[in-house]
Amino acid sequence: MSPMDDKTFHELKDAYVLGALPEDERAAVDTYLASRPERQAEIEDLMGVAGLLALAPPEHDPPTELRRRVMSVVASEAARPRAARRSPALSWLGRLGGLRNVALGAAALLVVGLLSWNVLLQGDVQSLRSQVEEARTAEETQETREIELGGAWAEQGARAEVTALKNDRAILVVEDMPSIPDDRTGQVWVINNDVPEPSGLLDPSGNMAATAITKPLGGADAIAVTVEPAGGSEKPTTDPVLVKEL
């Protein structure tokens, strides 16, 4: 998508603050705003007006049981160390330290791929990009969202992105991936309530790899990649090299 110009921004800003843009246009506006910080105040002001709509609905009292459920979770998490509470699903990632720093250190990532479900992509970047453009026009890939991953690999120049499709399907594509020994593999983990679940193997071809994520991301707390013995592990045995809180 070509960079957004001022005219297009003005056409889209109202839909943007109402949450009425499809993902690609929303991302384009985000990119535009990142490059035009002087517009930020304007958009925040408009968001304030749109946000007033949240006060309009007829009032309903939430059930007391809902409060009990929410407080039950909060009480259990409050007992944990701060880092674990903020990211309860990531306590096992704590060894990496400074997830916030990781996120800040993550470079801007390219959109590199959309694949058919259950297909392991291995190929060159150009081929991937072509498939991306084709896939974006397909019905299956309507309403997608991209999730950039940060971490040690990103700091080394890798570009990693999860593309979440409809129906809780998702793929992970890693470009410029650091080399790993032949007897090791990248393993994807989807983390729910502090439990990392094996969610796909990331076997590289050259300096890139892609895999379908076999566990649903809906409701998950984070996604991460570790380097594991070939064939994968039941539980992560090393620090994550890629990670993203959801």
Binding site: D14, L46, G51, A54, L66, M71, V74, A78, R82, G219
Partner: protein, 195 residues
């Protein structure tokens, strides 16, 4: 909460957020009690049924708890932040539903009517709600409908265009005019837009 003392009742939302960041569950409870009604009402409006509204509200408040450090007071009030989380996650859920329960009937729901506040602490917030509702009542129905389809039902501008059989430019224009009219309402009353 009852054993945690009354200090939470008099603390500002921003102070509660600071305590939450430090792991204070009682501060969260106080914040929940202040804003759960508005959050649940918005959830109910977006999802259209009780169970989904409860799930969305729970999801949003757990996000509030876990992301307290991410709140920036210069970008708006805590309430606005909480409701924006409800809204954003509600949009995500609506768009991921295989079968959308959004119907024209919901779109055409009449303007909401205020109900008596149940506590003094709610008075000011209720006053703001009344102002907002009054502002919305000044909108032409065709503008209000489009704002509702977008904000509460999660439709994109293109979907609204198709749904209503209107040119996309018309939809964009009505969004713009609708938001402008809400702002004008507060400007004319010389009242700051609540944040």
């Amino acid at each position: 909460m009852a054993d945690a003392g009354k200090k939470y009742l008099i603390l500002a939302d921003e102070d509660l957020m600071s305590l939450m960041e430090a792991g204070d569950a009682d501060a969260f409870a106080a914040l929940y009690d202040r804003h759960c009604r508005a959050a649940y009402s918005l959830s109910y409006r977006m999802m259209g049924e009780r169970q989904a509204a409860e799930d969305l509200t729970q999801d949003a408040f757990l996000k509030v708890w876990r992301s307290a450090a991410g709140y920036r007071s210069e970008r708006g009030s805590v309430r606005t932040w909480v409701l924006s989380i409800v809204h954003n996650r509600g949009i995500d859920q609506l768009r991921s539903l295989a079968s959308r329960r959004r119907t024209q009937d919901r779109v055409k729901q009449s303007a909401p009517r205020s109900q008596p506040s149940e506590a003094f602490a709610e008075t000011w917030r209720n006053s703001q709600r009344d102002q907002v509702r009054e502002a919305l009542n000044t909108l032409p129905s065709e503008q209000l409908k489009i704002l509702e389809l977008a904000y509460f039902s999660g439709y994109t501008h293109v979907e609204i265009s198709e749904l209503l059989g209107l040119p996309l430019g018309t939809v964009k224009g009505r969004m713009r005019l609708g938001l402008k009219k809400i702002r004008d309402y507060f400007d004319q009353k010389d009242v700051a837009v609540p944040r």
